[in-house]
Symmetry: C2
Subunit: 346 residues, 2 copies
Amino acid sequence: MFENKEKTPLDQLGEFKLIKQLTGEFKLKHESSVIGVGDDAALLENQGLEVISTDLLVENVHFDLMYTPLRHLGYKAVVVNLSDICAMNAIPKQILVSVAMSSKYTLEAVEELYSGIYAACEKYNIDLIGGDTSTAPQGLCISVTAIGTVANKEAVIKRAGASEGDLLCVSGDLGGAYAGLQMLEREKRVFMEQPEMQPDLEGYDYIIGRQLRPEARTDVIELFEELEIRPTSMIDVSDGLASEVFHLCEASEIGMKVYEDKIPIDQLTYDTARELHMDPTLYALSGGEDYELLFTLKQADYDKVKNSMDVSVIGYCAPKSEGAVLITKSGVEHPLKAQGWDAFPS
Amino acid sequence: MFENKEKTPLDQLGEFKLIKQLTGEFKLKHESSVIGVGDDAALLENQGLEVISTDLLVENVHFDLMYTPLRHLGYKAVVVNLSDICAMNAIPKQILVSVAMSSKYTLEAVEELYSGIYAACEKYNIDLIGGDTSTAPQGLCISVTAIGTVANKEAVIKRAGASEGDLLCVSGDLGGAYAGLQMLEREKRVFMEQPEMQPDLEGYDYIIGRQLRPEARTDVIELFEELEIRPTSMIDVSDGLASEVFHLCEASEIGMKVYEDKIPIDQLTYDTARELHMDPTLYALSGGEDYELLFTLKQADYDKVKNSMDVSVIGYCAPKSEGAVLITKSGVEHPLKAQGWDAFPS
């Protein structure tokens, strides 16, 4: 905000120079990325099967630039796609990134965005192999396509495949990203009303990080291989636990029982929800954007998992007729409600 | 405009129902499309090498809904991506489509858009295997990723590869899409000033079709295989002939001579340019969006091509030091100017 550095308007640069400026230094890491950015299309020579997914992030729908640093946004745009690849039990290898932005953005702003994209590529060993840049009448829109590989069809884990008696497990903790969003929104409101107030986000680092700079659980996928565990079904938690439980139930044609007291919620997430007079369980069920992996396991695989500190067993698969049910801390059964994030809120 | 049919607002439907409504009926055509829409990611088992490309279309930058039917827009969004796959000498097989749109759009409008996407999938034998839908604060943005296959690395044709003496060829005719755009823009201006006037586009069908509903030259790629022709370099004409000539020259490190009188321009394109007091050659050089293939051939391959009515030899490759040159109808040499479409116009 107080920088005096000279900025370069995008319209002074043109598309081809912009692409060169943004992607010129990028070195391909995988042998399978035969041709990257710079021709009409990229060329891939992946061994085995390929998994491919795409996601759009739209300004003022998926992010608010008032509290989202562009570098974090670039990182997150990549991560949410890598998470989808992980949810198929695949290891992500390549991405394509398209960006449409209003010409009020400067080259320096776009470079910030790409610095986050590159940071994610570095962290997850990903090649950026293509994309598109375009102006937009207003706002910023980022579309990422991610490609990963699995050894064979048997290794692929779908939403379908869970059966009665399987354990329901989740990696990491839930609700934190939503708690972080609530704090950022609160500080935004304070700033709008009293611009002279200093932001008060001290002590909330963990949940704000969960919101602004999530990670994809490639480590869990690697752990599965190491421990020789094969989940029977899997999905990533992008819309909230309840919504994902419904997806697994629907695809696998089963019911599920989730124990409220087993849902992993970080202490700071819990305290923040309480501070805002909200139910921490609701944050986990309906908040979304945690990008953890929700999966089902055969009971025989449980022993292999129980020493892994970062995976929680939160319930089990029941007959389809029993539906998706939350067993509350007081032992009461409630039908789960899918209140996940809706792309078209009314 | 005068329809009384009931419309369904998108916010009444929600994202998951919308995706189901849009993609539920789609049948996968390729054995290599193992899993399509409906899980966290799609699963592909393509033989040989894969070519992959992505393009964004943004409302009021790439299209104007005042004269672009949504069905044609959906078709074009797919075709421009297939064209990039063709430009690598590959056959397109799969696409992923992401759409962000303001919630003022109705389900019926989105279905129109998808009917065009499906029409292109049908025509070009393409599987829709994934995507994303999202609301947007305003406007419409479509991101398509296309995947194609080539038998081996030797079959891939890049922008680099042309050498001195190679012939420069182009499929179809050029400048028509831009001529069509000019007519549509003229009628829009008339309508804005005198809404009671009837649009006068009779007789302009060919060029309006070139603008609103272009085709990808998969047939040319098939012809290459049939005639056992291997171009030495190739690109598709999306930004105008001049811009594409520069790309080939730069990547191949050569110069090129283009004969103005050899550039294929349809009679209607020519007449329309004249009617608007413009230079038809400029339409071909700088108009863009023709999605024809521009490629270089060894002279020995010329005999195989000369009986193909749909390919024109328009020039040849010269030493790099001579640059990219237009030889005008009067025989004068002019350095070519790249005035192709600019993603960030100033």
